[in-house]
Amino acid sequence: MNGSKVRRSLGRIWRWPALLAALTAFGLLSALIGQTGFWWAWSWIALAAPLAVIVWCAGKSLLRFQV
């Protein structure tokens, strides 16, 4: 799939980034507006998602490189 000649639509290119942006917005606001630890926890999970994706992408690439 990587570097394949198939051209991706704008929707496909932005699917993941848009999801992560929405999670970030939710995470930033839930800790600010929510009044309980419950909302804090959701904020941490939502804002950790971009970091998890970075680790996942880097890990995937490292694994492929070793094989």
Binding site: N2, I13, A31
Partner: protein, 396 residues
């Protein structure tokens, strides 16, 4: 997107980034310890610990602490009294006189009392005699490069360029990713290709966070002019009827504790955080200015000043804050990341490090710009081709 507009966006992304990157690196690196400012300050403080008291122990009277402070520094005046709701401390700020303070803000000093026992826990030297702490240096580098207001405006401009760089980066992300799956890092490719993929991936993943912290950073850098604007419009209008009256000497002031109690009675849902004495450049010539805030995570960031007549002790008015100061107040937590406990601070630090990686890889991509020019040409050419061919169809 046409070839020409893609080229223009690439140009915008390259040059806004290049101009701000060095300063943004300073901002990101100094921002790391600043995220943990409260914790580090507590660690490096060296003051006496708070007394252990049963829950529900009331605070000592501000009047007692004011009298005590004046006894410790005879002839000096009290500038303001800070009453923290996070920690059981009350801090009294003093200076030789209002004129001395206005001439040199650094001539002020403070005494920290235990809020429950009234014991002196720590005293500052005059602000200029204390030397700059590690965190002071970090904050100056982060906010104004030791250059005061011009430095704040300059760093604000750099933050604005950063925001434009992020937006233009998002625009050119699409064309770069036409033939790639999300998150692909072409590890087998050239070194430049690896860094380009890393730059794109981390950049787009942290896009929303960087945008929010960038925009709120710009707003925070405007806090000085915004407060001046407020003082010269709303505050001036409130004080207009009293213009020309002399500032009451401190010996003739009504009780600051009574002023605090009056405000608490008027607004029982609010927490009073400080009392600014009459004559302060940050207050009124004739009133105690009592800063109050709400109790929820959001409203605890929104401050409202209440004016109390400093001779009679009567409540004058609850001042409503203009929208631009409300925006500034909401921008603070969203910039500092200090509103969701330690896990949020750690996430903030990690996202900051991710931003440093985006900036660093951006510099690398520019330094390898000989191949960068060729790559841009290829991108623009292939984008043109794809614009002509049906979407998602095979490349010609």
């Amino acid at each position: 997107m046409t070839r020409r507009s893609l080229r223009s966006w690439l140009w915008v992304h390259k040059w806004t980034s290049l101009v701000c990157t060095l300063f943004l690196l300073i901002i990101c690196v100094t921002g790391l310890p600043l995220v943990l400012k409260d914790e580090l300050e507590a660690l490096l403080d060296g003051g006496l610990p708070y007394a252990q008291v049963p829950a529900g122990t009331p605070n000592v009277s501000l009047d007692r602490l004011a009298a005590r402070s004046r006894t410790m520094y005879p002839g000096e005046i009290i500038l303001s009294i800070l009453s923290d709701d996070d920690e059981p401390k009350i801090v009294v700020f003093m200076a030789a006189s209002w004129d001395a303070f206005k001439a040199d803000r650094k001539s002020a000093h403070w005494i920290r009392f235990d809020a429950h026992t009234g014991q002196v826990l720590k005293q500052s030297k005059p602000f200029d005699g204390d030397g700059k702490s590690f965190l002071d240096i970090m904050l100056s580098l982060h906010r104004d490069l030791f250059a005061g207001l011009p430095g704040e405006l300059f760093m604000g401009l750099m933050a604005l360029l950063f925001v434009i760089a992020i937006a233009s980066g998002a625009v050119v992300y699409g064309p770069f990713m036409r033939k790639l799956d999300f998150g692909t890092l072409r590890a087998a490719g050239s070194s430049r290709l690896k860094w380009l993929d890393l730059h794109n991936m981390i950049g787009v993943v942290t896009l929303a966070w960087a945008l929010v912290v960038g925009v709120t950073g710009v707003i925070n850098e405007l806090s000085t002019p915004l407060f001046v604007l407020w003082q010269q419009t709303d505050v001036r209008a409130i004080l207009a009827p009293l213009r020309g009256e002399p500032v009451p000497p401190q010996s003739e002031l009504s009780s600051p504790q009574a002023a605090l109690d009056t405000v608490k009675a008027e607004a029982p849902d609010m927490i009073a955080t400080s009392v600014v004495f009459p004559g302060s450049p940050f207050g009124s010539p004739y009133h105690y200015l009592v800063w109050t805030k709400g109790q929820t995570p959001l409203t605890s960031r929104l401050f409202s000043p209440v004016l109390v007549n400093a001779r009679s002790g009567a409540l004058v008015s609850v001042v409503s804050m203009p929208w631009y100061l409300r925006v500034l107040e909401i921008s603070r937590p969203l910039h500092f990341g200090d509103y969701g406990g330690m896990p949020l601070k750690i996430i903030w630090i990690l996202l900051d490090i991710a931003t440093i990686l985006v900036l660093g890889s951006g510099i690398y991509l520019w330094l390898s710009r000989h191949s960068s020019v060729a790559a841009e040409d290829r991108l623009v050419a292939s984008h043109h081709a794809s614009a002509l061919s049906p979407l998602r169809g095979p490349a010609p």
